[in-house]
Every structure is written in C-alpha cells, then in structure tokens.
Amino acid sequence: MDPFQVGSFLTAGVLIVTGLWAIIMMDNLLKKVIGANLIGDGVNLVLIGIGYRPGGLVPEVTHHFHATAVPSTFSHFLAFNEFAELASYPLPFALVLTNIVIGASTLSVMLALSVVLYHKYNTLSVQKIFESMEED
C-alpha cells in the first residue's frame, strides 16, 4: 500500500477517535455536534482512501480520454481500456458525495435542536440539561 494511503487511513482513525471522544466525554452540546461532524469526516476519508490508486488518473471522463481517440504518444487522450486501468476507483467518491450531504443535513437538525434546548435551559451543558430532574 502507498504510504500516503496509509497516512490518510491513520488520519481518518485519529478523526474518528477524536469525534467519538467528543461525543462521549464533552459536556458542551455544540462540542458533541462537532464530534459527530468529525466522525463523518473520518469515515469519508477512509472511503476516499480506498478509492485511491497511487500515481493514477483523476476518474473524470472529459480530461483524459475520448471514446474515439486512438492512444498515441503525442496525445494525452486515452482509449477507454487504458483509462480504466490508470484511473482510481470512482465508486467510493460517489458514496462520499452522498454522505457529505447527509452529514450536513443531520448536522443542521442537531444544531437546531441544541439552539432550542439552549433557549429552554439557558445553558449548553449536557450535565445541566439532561441530568436535571425538575420536570415530571
């Protein structure tokens, strides 16, 4: 495996563990939300790292090949087979695009909820909001 790929997996691990730590240990609602965001980022980085091919091409069709082109040393156009052998694996990228959007939407719902809870309790502390027993 390419060292840069290994490095990105390690970084993703750091992101996930940091996010989990924030969700479990932090007392601030917004910090918990930041932790949720970091977990999503880490998982995205793992997915992108899986699709990476060292020294490969960007899997965007328009730049690198043309369906009718003949491979030659003079042209940067490639035939499809050659392109498919050189390009990185694009399926995880599509997954990540979806996941980024999902993450943003869940994040906005969580932020809205924390604002509402702040207006009720006048604090962002989880300890004060969730462990208080004054109701019911």
Binding site: V43, V46, L47, L95, S105
Partner: protein, 488 residues
Amino acid sequence: MFNSTLIPLMVVFPLIAAILANFLHQKDRSVKTIAIISSIVAIIIPLITLYGVHLFSGHIRTESFPEISKLLIPDVYMGIVYAYGPLQKILLALLTLMTVFVVFLSINRKLISGVYVAMIFISLASVSAIILTDDFFNFFVFIEVLTVAQAALVIAVKETKAHKAAFKYMIFSSVSGGSILLGIALLLGVYGLLNMTDLSNAITAGGALKPVALTAIALITVGWLYESGLFPFHIVKSNMYENAMPETAALLQLQSKFILVAMSIALLRIFSGYALLKSVMLGFAIFTVVIGSVMALQQTDLRKLLSFVAVGQAGLVAMGIGLGTSFSISAGIFHAINDVLSMAILFFVAGFILESYKTTKLDQLGEGLQKAPLIGTIMFLATLAISGVPPFNSYQSEFRLIQSAVEAGYAELSVLVILLSVATFIAVIKAFYMIFMKPSTNTEADPKVKGTMYKTIIVILIAMCLFIGLFPNMVYDPIYNIIVSLGV
C-alpha cells in the same frame, strides 16, 4: 431480464407525496386531500406489484471488470437492485396500512401540517427502500434519512422532553451511522462490492474472514443494535416512543421492528457462514428482553410502560433471529408482524386516553370502563394478544419461538420466553386495571372527544390479530419458504 417498473414506485411515490405536502405547508385543506389520496395510492401499490427484481438504469448482471483483481466471483451486479418477493409484500402491506392509519388519526386530531405529513411519508419511503434494497450503500442512505424523519416526527410534539429525546437519538445515530458506513467501507475495501448477494458469494468464496472483515462485521453489528433498539440503545429508542405522539409511536415501533427484520436478514445473508454473529445477536437479544420487561414493570406512565414493552418485544424478535435456524428465524419474523399489530392497538389506546384525559399517568386515571367501554374491552383483548393467549396471533408466534428454541438445543430460552410473556401480561394488565377499573374520583374525560376513528381502527386491528391467530399459516408459510430458500 424482466424489469418490474412498479417496484421503485413504492419508494418514489411516498417521496413525491412528501414533497407535495411539504410545499403546501399552511394550506391545511389541500394537505389533507393530498395525504388521504396518496395514502390510499400507497396502500394499493404493494398489493398490485408483481414479484420480481428491479435493476436500476437497466444494468444487468455482468462479468466483473478485470482491473479490480480483488473480486472473487465471476459476475456482479453493476447497479442498485431492488428485490420484491412474498416476504417484502407482507411487510410492505402492513407498513403502508399502518402508515395510513396513522395519517388518518393525525388528520383526525388536527395535528395536520404539511411538514408532519411529509415526514410520515418520508419515513414510509425509507422503510420501504430498506426492506426492498439489495444494495448496502442504498440501505445506509435510507437509514440516515429515516433517522432524520423520525427525529422530526418526535420534535413536532414541541415539548422539551421530546427535544431532548430527539437530540439523544440524533447524537447516537451519528455514532451508529458512522460505524455502519465504516463497516461498509471496509467491506468495499476488502471485497470491492456493495451488492448484498454478491458480497455473500464473495465472502463464501473468500474462505476465512480477515481481521478487516471482522472489524467490519463488528461495526455493522453496532449499527444493527442501534437501528433495532437493542441493549445499549434501548433507552434511546424507548425515549423516542415515549415522547412521540402515541399514534406516531405506533408507527415508530413498527418501523424499527421491520428494520430489525430487514437488517438481520441482510446480515445473516452476507455473513451466512459466520456462526459467532448469531450468538452475539442472541446474547444482546436476551439482555434487551430481560431489561425491557423489568423496566416495563416499574413504570407508572402508560406511554413509558408501552415503550419499554415495545423494546422488550423487539428483543424477542431478535432472539428468534439470533437462534439461527430457519424455523426460529421465520418464527421471529412472524412474531415481529404479530407484535407490531398488538403494540399498535395499545399505542392507539394510549393516544385516545391522552386525547380524552390529557394525561397518561396511571395514578391520575381510573374508572374508564364506564366512559369508554369499547376501548377498554379492546385494550383487554390486546393485552391478551400481546402476552400470547391462544386465540390471538402472538400465541402462534411465541409457540413457534419456544418450539424452535427447544429444537435448536436451547431449552432454557423457552422458559425465558414464557416468563417474559407473563411479565408483559402483568405489566400491561396493571395499566389496564389502573386506567379502566380502579375507583377514582378526580378523573375528568373531555366530553367532546368521541374517538370514532380510534374505535374503528382498533377494531380493525384486533380483528386482524384474531384472523392471523386463527389462520397463522397464511402469513407464516410464505415467510418460512422464503427463509428456507435464502438458506441463512
């Protein structure tokens, strides 16, 4: 290959209805019309659709392309695949029926707003997709969508407790969603596939599981625990059921039980040769069942009590699946179907009581049988149904569960199932007594609340319970045949 075009309509149509209802936010009349029309259409679609497989954008099963040398099987699906069979038909018919009931009750209750109806339809669409899909990433996407929709349904109650429950639900959903997606990513990295059928074949061909694949299984199992509301997440789930409107809670528990069924079948199909997964499922299921029943016995609020009973019953379903034989898995799925019906009756009764007495605290209620004799009688029947008394449906499934536990060599578990149904009976009959029979002086029913819609719906549901109890094979046999043919 035969392409049944109606299959994706089960997902697309509710989404369109949701978008329409959302646009007409403050026009209550048109929202009502759209809700009624689209729920009637939604209930028809699963019934008229033919069995088959839908390949999105017509990508047929082709030879795997050579540059991914990791692939272990000769041919793969290139696109998203939806499969529709008898099991999916039963689940979807029940799901759409219950969604229609909940939409009607919400309209009846003046709860109607465009966003609320939209969220109900989005959750319908996502559960349909989760049941139908054969693609792991599609599964994940709709699980996330469902989480947001369910949280929104709970937020709509506009109480601080509901907001807290929804926040907790969202926070833990980010943990579990992340772990499911990480598991999917690791499987994609090891096997290069997302389709469940192909993954199953590739894992069988690949021999012993590598540590990365084991990590993936562990992570997906954590997600499974969250989605089905088993042990560490049972508090989160029961909090959601408790704080939602009782009608919505009936829908939420149905959705999470069906996701439990769909996701367990997916997991068992993918890792079919891996016996440890079943043991882990069984262990968490037993834990959940015991804790759910114990907690249900301690509650003094009807909604809270019912939510813990619902969690415990989900554990019973998972126990059947975790036992791992074809007989026990089909018994577990059958129990999910039966239990969803009787739990829904109890939640609808709770909705009626909340509407007419403005509280569900058991010690503030009493003498309800004079005021609402029909509701009381049906709640008593539903209590019998949920604790497995013979003429009703849960008897059939619990009997099969016990039998399959004995056949699988875990005779102790059959004792546990009996104990738990007794505990459930005690918990719910206590609530019944305290609402309907206990002498009380200070309870005042709202005289304006007639509850005609509630009465109609729970009479239909109890009739369904009785019908399935009398003719269990109509539902059970197709399930059993499917499970045997899946070979999990």
